[in-house]
């Protein structure tokens, strides 16, 4: 059975997928701001990532460090199979429920 995803979890998981190999805190936050118009605090992003990780939707690996990061390493995220399945299920639910909605709800 796939995990249920909250709205922010969906958005963060989508961002991780879009960013492909470059998904870590800063890029996820930036993408969320640019594509969804939501300026989410980094702590919120981290909390959500942590929750997704706890649900088994994400895999992580440690990356390289850079000077502007004070020598601290990045933590990269990519979706797990369970995460992809959970996202598919939520999107299917969304599609099922949005089908046939009037013009006023079209983007």
């Amino acid at each position: 059975m796939s995990a249920y995803l909250g709205e922010l979890e969906q958005l963060v998981l989508l961002a991780v997928i879009q960013l492909d190999d470059d998904a870590y805190g800063v890029t996820i936050r930036t993408l969320l701001r640019e594509r969804s118009g939501r300026d989410v605090a980094l702590a919120t992003v981290y909390t959500t990532l942590e929750r997704l990780e706890a649900k088994g939707c994400l895999l992580t690996r440690l990356g390289a460090s850079t000077p502007e990061r004070g020598g601290r390493r990045k933590r990269f995220f990519r979706p797990s199979a369970r995460g992809q399945q959970a996202l598919r299920a939520s999107l299917a639910a969304l599609r099922g429920l949005t089908a046939g909605l009037g013009r006023e709800f079209q983007p």
Partner: protein, 880 residues
Amino acid sequence: MSTPPEPVGPPRLAAWLLDRLAPRGWSEHFRGDLDEEYHTLRASVGSRANRWYWRQTARALIARLGRYRREPGGSATLTTDMRHAARSVARQRGYSTLVVLALGLSLGAAAAALAVVRMYVWTPLPYPHADRLVTVAFNAPGESAPRGIFGIDWQGVDAVADLVVAWDIDGFTLIDDQPPASANGRWIRPDVFPMFGITPLLGRVLTQDDIDQQAPVAMIGRDLWRSRFNGAPDVLGRAMTVRSTDRPDEVEVFTIVGVLPDRFWHLEHRTQVLLPLRGPRSPSLLRLREGVSAEDAATRLTRYAASQLPDVDPQWRVVVTPAQQQHIEPIRAVLATIAGAVMLLVLVTCGNLAFLQATRGQIREREFAVRSALGASRSRLTRQLLFEQALMGAAAAGVALVSAWLLLEGLLPAIERYFGRMAPGVSGGGGALLTGGVALATLLAAVAACLLSGVPPMVRVLFGHATTGVTGYLGATESRGRMRARQAIVFAQIAGTFALLAGAALMVRSAQHLADVPLGLDPDHVISANLTLHERTYPMVAERQQLIRRVTERIAALPGVEAAGLIGAWPFAAYAGEPVEADVAAPGAGDRPVVAASYAVNPAYFPALRLRILEGRALVDADATSAQVSAVVSAALAARLWPGQSAIGRTFRFASRADEMPMHEGARGPLTVVGVSADVRRSMVEPTAPEVYVSLDRSPGTFLFLQVRAVGDPAGLVPAIERAVLAEDPNLPLAAVQPMTEVVSAEGVRPRFLASVLTAFAALTAAVALVGVYAVSAWIARQRRREAAVRMALGSTSSGVVTLFVSRGAWLIWMGVVAGWGLSYLVGGLLESELHGVAAGDLTTRAALAAALGTVGVAAVWWPTWRVSCQDAATVLREP
């Protein structure tokens, strides 16, 4: 050449906080991400990036808190712990209420007492440079000032003081179109206004110009302004026609230039008239120059006075006392007594709280042991326990603050009346005394009391083996160690409570003694009033005698009047008297001079106040004209002058120097004792002072006190008495009309207030102690239910079990009483200096207390045991 830009990093404090407080496991990547984005932002928006960084930090810290709530596994969380604690407190409702109420009420009393002590003792007087204010006296207590000291030129005082206040106390009779009224007042130097920082309610204060020009101007008190001028705003500039006691044959007119502020207490709270001082007076209050100590000032003033008065005794010294000390000295003993009683109350409460918590700890061992066995961590259990105790402490502090506020609001007027001084710097209700500091101290004390008493009993459970608690309860009887611990708790509780309660009981008995010592006169059904005879209308003794006789006859003839007494001096004035000596010294009379106060009274004074004559007779009309000067002496004086002998027919005289007037003209020459009267108590602590009564009619003064005894309610007689006085002289004001009972209580002669405060404290202390004893004893009996059930299952009868348990419990309790009896001598020793009329080692008090405490303790053991014995043994045994 440009210098390379300094490397700019994120705000250091925020980074530091993040490193320490960001959720565990985040720190490296999270800070890395933040710093990376910070550098990007910094390049585009400059220092605004710092604000952004702080916002992000705050969010991270909040996330840490939230994470605490949602820790993986859903166990340890802050809010859950708090909720748990609150639920646990609510579940033990009876116990929590007991702790909160007992601690809250005692700390409330303590907070109120602390607020009062703080106000009178620790708060500097609310004056500019209050630490430099001193009072000046020219005689040590009990001695007399050197002759002529008041007449010297006191210019020299300016060398030590920058403000010098001198005054001349005077009484004033207001005469205008209204009935005459009298008021207390002072002729005073204007330095008093800057010294006390007085701003008038209306108009202006007196100035040096007023003095220099001898301006006929006056400031009046708010009460006088209200009563005499109906509080009219246009009172300024109005004329006030008065006759003063100092210049009784002049009618003077003063222009009112100002109204004194409300609660004008600085000189004496009945002061209603201030006028510019006429002529030089010796200084009474000084504000010392900076760097001059009181000791310094005393030395320099003494030297100065000696230079002006060459024949002064070289031993004599000016007495300089800091104003603060002067202000509180008379009430220090009472404050100490109240503080002591409150300390006892708090000690008893905290002691009993500790015992209650110890028993509670044992009761809850099982709960904690089970939870610990189920996997709750030690830190978790500790945290919950701390929250529980802090919660109860906070609730107790709430109860304490509310009760303290109510106490202070309700009692401040009584406190001020009792102390005879207003609360400096308080303008609204007494609740204002509950300052932030007092409130904080109360809160801290309450929480500390709960934590200190509640946590230690659990330490063994928290840090011992978890299983001990679970299995420890399965046995029918308890382990020897637990039983010993329990017995020690009860023993110590009873002993400690007994000792402290004994202290409280001694103090109550002392206060009651002070309140109950016979006054020597009976103030019930007596109306007191002042009469001030106008000296010009009655310049000669004969005219005064006539007026007095006519007025008293008229009043005595009124229906409902039993006797119309007159006395020539305020009976409760702090008037030490003059030395007297017997014409023929009696053996054993001692060498110390006897100082006696003399009062001129009319014959009706004795029946009017029911002043008992123990031997001989009271004064009669004939004594006013007899060749020998008759006197009635008090029993105390008779015992000092003629110990072990009858005083009747003996002669004595006032030993004042020939050039010094005795208090009454009629008391000159040898006096012959015709009667011995009961002692009259003139002050709170000092029971009796030697006194002499002589006939008022011999040389009546102009200042008299009327004391009329009524058959029934004296208040109804007042209009008739006023009419009787005015019928003789329409200009004769009848002032300060009040029941004698009020006079007596206002003079603090009977410390009823102190007695009732102490009784209330002691009752509260006893209630707390008895509830504590009961709770602990009942808990013990409950603990042994299983044992009782086993015994009954094995064939013991229920009465047999009750007898066995009660006899063991009683033995323990009585051992505690005996130990407490011993300890109580320590407490008594500490209180000894505050006790009057009851010995610190008083046996009756202790015996009564032992009976009460022993009985309650035994009953507390008997009741639950009896209830257990009524239960079915099998049911009890099946209980977990």
